[in-house]
């Protein structure tokens, strides 16, 4: 039985259909990278898995709990509030913009939910928080406030915060997009180690290197549909679909693009230096 079962997932915002029927399963211990152009619906799809977005159609089941289901007449039934909270306890999520609680230290960020939601005694939660911060390389930063940390450090605290709930599934939503490129590595390293330890992970990302190296499977989404999916090596190196090829070409082959820019720029140089005396003057320049 797969850990995550999504079928016929649809989501529209007003008249815009963002997801147009998505089906996929995630097995326990599997790491899946979700790639696709911006606006393709990949983030919306991820946010549906823990019902931060409420689907307008389809069925989502996580760890044998049905979170939402479309009825025969097309209406949606959702699990009740308590059941959704119960499910979320087991689904960790890491956001693009960290969303750490800015008025709490790193340790306080990590222990808040275990104490409030799972009634873990404070000393126990604190000891575990220190272990987790140690594991993400921030053992010395426990008393720091979020604004005293770099983006990469904040994101690692956010990962520790999610792990403190002992999740069976982790959702990562473009977690390196808001940090300086040189700090992305430290986050990806933590994620890679997590994958090696057998965590089930759904990772929306632009980092093709991570997808190639760590992911078991890659889903390529475009225009609200899964266009292509399969083992990372197949999809990334041998895409069968034209749209996948075009996307990977644009993301991976930067060099030809730079050449194009140079070419275009050369054509512009003269135009940018138009001088008054040249306007309306003799035409022999052309």
């Amino acid at each position: 039985m797969a850990l995550v079962n999504v079928s016929g997932l649809r989501k529209s915002f007003g008249k815009t259909d963002v997801l147009k029927g998505v089906d996929f399963q995630v097995e326990r211990g599997e790491v899946i990278s979700i790639i696709g152009p911006s606006g393709s619906g990949k983030t919306t799809m991820l946010r549906c898995v823990n019902l931060l977005e409420r689907p307008t159609g389809g069925r989502i089941e996580v760890d044998s709990r049905v979170l939402c289901e479309e009825q025969a007449n097309g209406s949606m039934t959702f699990a009740d509030k308590a059941a959704i909270r119960e499910a979320r306890e087991h689904i960790g999520m890491v956001f693009q913009r960290f969303n750490l609680f800015p008025h709490m230290t790193a340790v306080e960020n990590v222990i808040e939910a275990p104490i409030a939601v799972k009634n873990v005694p404070k000393p126990e939660a604190t000891a575990r928080a220190h272990e987790l911060l140690e594991a993400v390389g921030l053992g010395h930063k426990g008393d720091s406030y979020p604004m005293q940390l770099s983006g990469g450090q904040q994101q690692r605290v956010a990962i520790a915060r999610a792990l403190a709930m002992d999740p069976t599934l982790m959702l990562f939503d473009e977690v390196t997009s808001a940090v300086d490129p040189e700090l992305a590595g430290e986050i990806l390293l933590v994620m890679k180690r997590l994958a090696e330890q057998g965590m089930t992970m759904l990772v929306v990302t632009h980092e093709m290197g991570f997808a190639a190296e760590v992911a078991d499977r890659v889903l390529f989404i475009d225009h609200g549909r899964i266009v292509e999916q399969g083992p990372a090596a197949d999809v990334l190196q041998n895409p069968s679909h034209e749209r996948t090829k075009a996307f990977l070409h644009a993301v991976l082959d930067r060099a030809p693009m730079e050449a194009e820019v140079e070419e275009a720029a050369e054509g512009l140089v003269d135009d940018l230096l138009v001088r008054p005396e040249r306007i309306g003057g003799d035409d022999d320049g052309s």
Partner: protein, 221 residues
């Protein structure tokens, strides 16, 4: 040329202080009332139950739309006829009128503060499985206070000054006693100047807790 009689302020000092005491009482009680009522109204406005939102929006529209003087006239002449309010003394009517009026402003300030918190904070709390009650109390409200304090405090200065309107329903607070003294001593310049200085001292002193609170709730960077 000048025929000042500043000692008249000294001779009237005890009465001026009596008036100041009532001014501060009116201020303190109406501030507490306004804050509690404002908080309830702000939460109603953000509730998912539409009649509650509707009532709260209507309350704010009405009391921001009519002068505090009119609210005070209502509290003084009419409130006592309402069921359960027959015990209202004139001073209590003044406190009620000022508090009910100021609550509309406090509600807007509190609501704006709660809305100023990044929606990502709600999402992160939800994703961690926290109940709304829990994360409002632990995550959202503490962050909103930083935004609320400055406007809340400057609005409270307005409330302190608005207590002077109670003179219009016959309360002898600082402005009322000053008017009476000026009528009986024929020394309006000296006495109104003294009253102005007392108000200035009070409103300037209110800046002190504001600065303390702003420092207390600042984010550590």
């Amino acid at each position: 040329m000048s025929d000042w009689d500043w000692p008249v302020v000294g001779r009237s000092w005890d009465l001026l202080m009596e008036g100041t005491k009532l001014t501060l009482q009116l201020f303190a009680v109406s501030l507490i009332l306004a804050t509690l009522l404002g908080l309830i109204l702000a939460l109603m406005r953000m509730s998912s139950i539409s009649p509650l939102r509707f009532i709260s929006a209507g309350y704010v529209w009405v009391f921001r739309g009519i002068p505090v003087f009119v609210t005070l006239l209502f509290a003084f002449f009419v409130a006592r006829d309402l069921p359960g309010l027959s015990w209202l003394t004139p001073i209590q009517a003044g406190m009620l009128g000022l508090g009910v009026d100021a609550a509309a402003y406090k509600a807007e300030i509190i609501r704006a503060g709660l809305l100023s918190v990044d929606p990502g904070q709600h999402e992160a709390s939800e994703a961690l499985g926290m109940t709304k009650r829990h994360y409002m109390r632990r995550i959202i409200v503490p962050q909103s206070i930083r935004v609320i304090v400055p406007t809340y405090m400057s609005n409270s200065i307005l409330l302190l000054k608005a207590t002077s309107v109670a003179v219009g329903i016959g309360l002898v607070e600082l402005t009322g006693i000053t008017r009476q003294l000026s009528n009986s001593t024929f020394r309006p310049v000296e006495l109104f100047t003294a009253a102005a200085v007392i108000y200035l001292v009070l409103t300037t002193l209110l800046v002190v807790p504001q600065e303390y609170l702003e420092r207390r709730f600042a984010l550590k960077t």
